[in-house]
């Protein structure tokens, strides 16, 4: 039997257990989209290719599987680039399938041609330009393997239209070989060295990152912390790996971290850093970051070791395997701390917590922090939260207390405005029975607002909470603090009526202006079936605090 390239591609996707992709058709991928009629794979039709990439990204974060998107050549492909960089920065496994002009026209400036493998070479983990129909199946196998193993990341496959139209006898197809996995087994001696160092600590801290979430090591982390009784802080990407309801939880550290997390980091003597890359939003001034601490750094990617912060003990390995070894070693009883060794430290940390808790003042207007706190209470902390980028994102990280991994979906590394709504769509596809809420600002929601149509048409009942301050809030806050309150181009007055906009898309729109309306409206919005846009008009010039000024050390915080 003869098989077409497009058919081989979909068979290969099915072999990788792909059931849903996010895509948008175009001239060079007609054959691929036609194949949908014969395949078990379902496509979620987005309204912009950037939305497809973000939705695939969030789908991957929530489901733990590889996310897939499929777009046409040229502008279709280039529109995914922001989404690809976003996944690259946050190490999210996605496979991006792009159409391409005929292979014999490559490089001729053909209609809707873009050198997408060239464009995405620095922002994919790897990419492929398929040149023979025989290579399709193996390339898909390799792409999924590369995307999901080691430090995960995006992989792009560029598919010239003549190759996907080409036919080949099934019998002539080469056998697909299974790629060999590189060993990521941590070295036991290094684990012993790490635990020996930790057992001598008087002021220890555990700092976890996205690697714990991606490495599915949350249970192992919780078990370890139970044994060692050390306070835990996390980067934005690591939220949920350790329960925020645990007394040892310090909240997020860094630029908008809690006072107590930043103070603990600045005063600790041993830091166990797990699955982190020491991003500048975490460290701020590098030479003042944990200045008196011996650093134990665990990460799956050797590149992150000693790149920003010099470690004293480093372990290259996946977080789950490493923490398993840690737990086994702890069970021997050889690495227990002498009783009472950290008592003073734990008292000190508790005192910092009491001195400056996370908070805000109430006033005449709705406070955005209060919306998030109420959302947390009404959803009992069980919603999957996606965010846009800016103040809304930081307030969500501070005031929604995540107890489970893979429930906070945010653009950490790239800080992509317009991520939250398509991400909510991807998350809802992955978990149809969960409540998914996009926490947005009035600026960023407009960057991919067209995806409301995707949510409504696919009956994906995402709830959107807009913290509407009529400003590009985070930039305004910087202008307030560092540019003499000169609000250049951050006043977003003139945005559309989000209630009417929601209705125009076939969603429900609600609006609240006064603090006393807030909770009732939130309750109503969450209980309304289908897509709901909740527009909260909040205190216009509310800021995110604490704040570490760029370039300052972590213990030097603006508290209000």
């Amino acid at each position: 039997m003869k098989l077409k390239g497009a058919q081989i591609l979909f068979r290969a996707l099915e072999a990788e257990n792909v059931d849903t992709i996010f895509g948008y058709p175009g001239g060079k991928v007609l054959d691929l989209f036609d194949e949908l009629f014969r395949s078990h794979v379902k496509n979620i039709l987005v309204r912009h290719e950037q939305g497809a990439a973000h939705a695939a990204d969030a789908y991957a974060r929530v489901s733990g599987k590889v996310g897939v998107c499929m777009v046409t050549s040229g502008p279709g492909a280039t529109n995914t680039v922001t989404g690809i960089v976003n996944a690259f920065m946050d190490s999210i496994p996605i496979v991006v399938l792009t159409g391409q002009v005929q292979s014999y026209l490559l490089g001729s400036d053909a209609f809707q041609e873009a050198d997408i493998t060239g464009i995405t070479r620095p922002c994919t983990k790897h990419n492929f330009l398929i040149q023979r129909v025989e290579d399709i199946a193996q390339t898909v196998k390799d792409a999924f393997h590369i995307a999901s193993t080691g430090r995960p990341g995006p992989v792009l496959i560029d598919l010239p239209v003549d190759i996907i139209q080409m036919e080949i006898e099934e019998a002539d197809l080469p056998v697909v070989t299974i790629p060999v996995e590189k060993s990521q087994t941590p070295i036991v001696e290094e684990c012993q060295e790490a635990l020996t160092l930790l057992a001598r600590a008087h002021k220890p801290i555990i700092f976890t990152g996205g690697g714990v979430v991606l490495g599915k090591a949350s249970q192992e982390l919780r078990q370890f912390v139970k044994q060692v009784n050390i306070p835990v802080t996390s980067s934005l990407m690591g939220l949920g790996a350790f329960p925020a309801s645990d007394p040892l939880w310090l909240g997020m550290l860094g630029m908008h971290g809690t006072y107590y997390a930043n103070m603990a980091i600045s005063n600790c003597d041993v830091m166990l850093a797990i699955g982190v890359r020491f991003d500048d939003r975490v460290t701020s001034r590098v030479d003042a970051f944990a200045p008196n601490a011996k650093i134990i750094h665990i990460d799956i990617d050797p590149v992150t070791i000693d790149k920003i912060i010099q470690s004293h003990v480093s372990i290259i390995g996946d977080c789950k395997a490493t923490l398993r070894i840690f737990n086994e070693l702890m069970a021997t009883g050889k690495y227990n701390m002498p009783a009472g060794q950290t008592d003073n430290w734990l008292k000190r940390v508790a005192a910092w917590k009491e001195e400056v808790p996370l908070g805000y003042c109430t006033g005449e207007n709705i406070k955005p922090q209060c919306v998030i706190e109420t959302l947390y209470r009404l959803t009992e902390g069980k919603a999957i939260i996606t965010t846009e980028v800016g103040q809304n994102q930081m307030w969500a990280a501070q005031f929604y207390r995540f107890d489970e991994p893979n429930t906070f979906v945010t653009s950490g590394g790239l800080g992509t405005m317009g991520f939250g709504l398509p991400a909510a769509i991807g998350a809802q596809v992955a978990c149809p029975d969960r409540l998914v809420v996009d926490i947005a600002g009035d600026g960023s929601i407009q960057m991919n607002i067209q995806e409301l149509a995707t949510a409504v048409n696919n009956k994906l009942p995402v709830k959107i909470v807009i913290l509407n301050n009529s400003y590009l809030g985070m930039v305004r806050q910087w202008q307030e603090l560092f540019y003499g309150k000169r609000y250049s181009q951050t006043d977003l007055t003139g945005s559309p009526d989000f209630v009417k906009l929601a209705e125009a898309y076939g969603a429900t729109g609600l609006r609240a202006d006064k603090p006393e309306e807030m909770e009732a409206m939130l309750k109503k919005g969450l209980n309304t079936p289908g897509v709901v846009v909740m527009d909260f008009h909040v205190e216009p010039e509310e800021g995110v605090y604490p704040m570490v000024r760029p370039g300052a050390s972590l213990n030097d915080m603006l508290l209000k």
Partner: protein
């Protein structure tokens, strides 16, 4: 710490069209120049060996080496500045020849175990090779003898079996 060092690395790669661009990309991202590069197919035609020299801050070079190692089509990266190896370079030099400098040229070429490859009207092309540390001195010498133009292979290197 900004210790500037020259480094020669040998990179064994899958012989694919975009592999060189990927390696170059890692350097350009860090604004590092590649000082010289030579690439050849190995005994196994599916694999190429790239010998590359660069200069820069040691810590950053270390990160770059690890980043190259992370690339999919890279099989092995070895730092030849850290292990015993022979590092040589070949130069082709075109010289303006007259009766006045002819004998000096022949003398120098012989001393360096080089060869005169072509003798056209008034111009010779000679081939010399040398240890990477000698190349600049050799060029300076030929410059005085009427060097018109030259081309260099860049460093080629092979590790010694100790």
């Amino acid at each position: 710490m900004t210790k500037i060092k020259e480094k020669t690395v040998s990179i064994l790669v899958n012989n694919k069209p975009d592999v060189l661009a990927r390696i170059a990309g890692v350097f350009s991202l860090r604004s590092f120049n590649i000082e010289s590069i030579s690439a050849n197919v190995t005994k196994d035609p599916g694999k190429s060996k790239i010998i590359l020299t660069t200069k820069g801050n040691q810590d950053t070079l270390m990160t770059i080496e690890k980043q190259i190692n992370n690339l999919v089509d890279i099989i092995q990266v070895s730092d030849l500045t850290k292990i015993p190896s022979i590092r040589r370079e070949m130069i082709l030099i075109r010289l303006k020849v007259s009766t006045a400098n002819q004998n000096s040229i022949i003398q120098v070429v012989e001393k360096l175990h080089g060869r005169v490859l072509s003798k056209e009207e008034g111009y010779w092309i000679v081939e010399v090779s040398g240890d990477v540390d000698e190349i600049d001195a050799i060029l300076a010498r030929f410059d005085k003898l009427g060097m018109d133009d030259f081309t260099r292979t860049g460093t080629v290197a092979l590790e010694q079996i100790a």
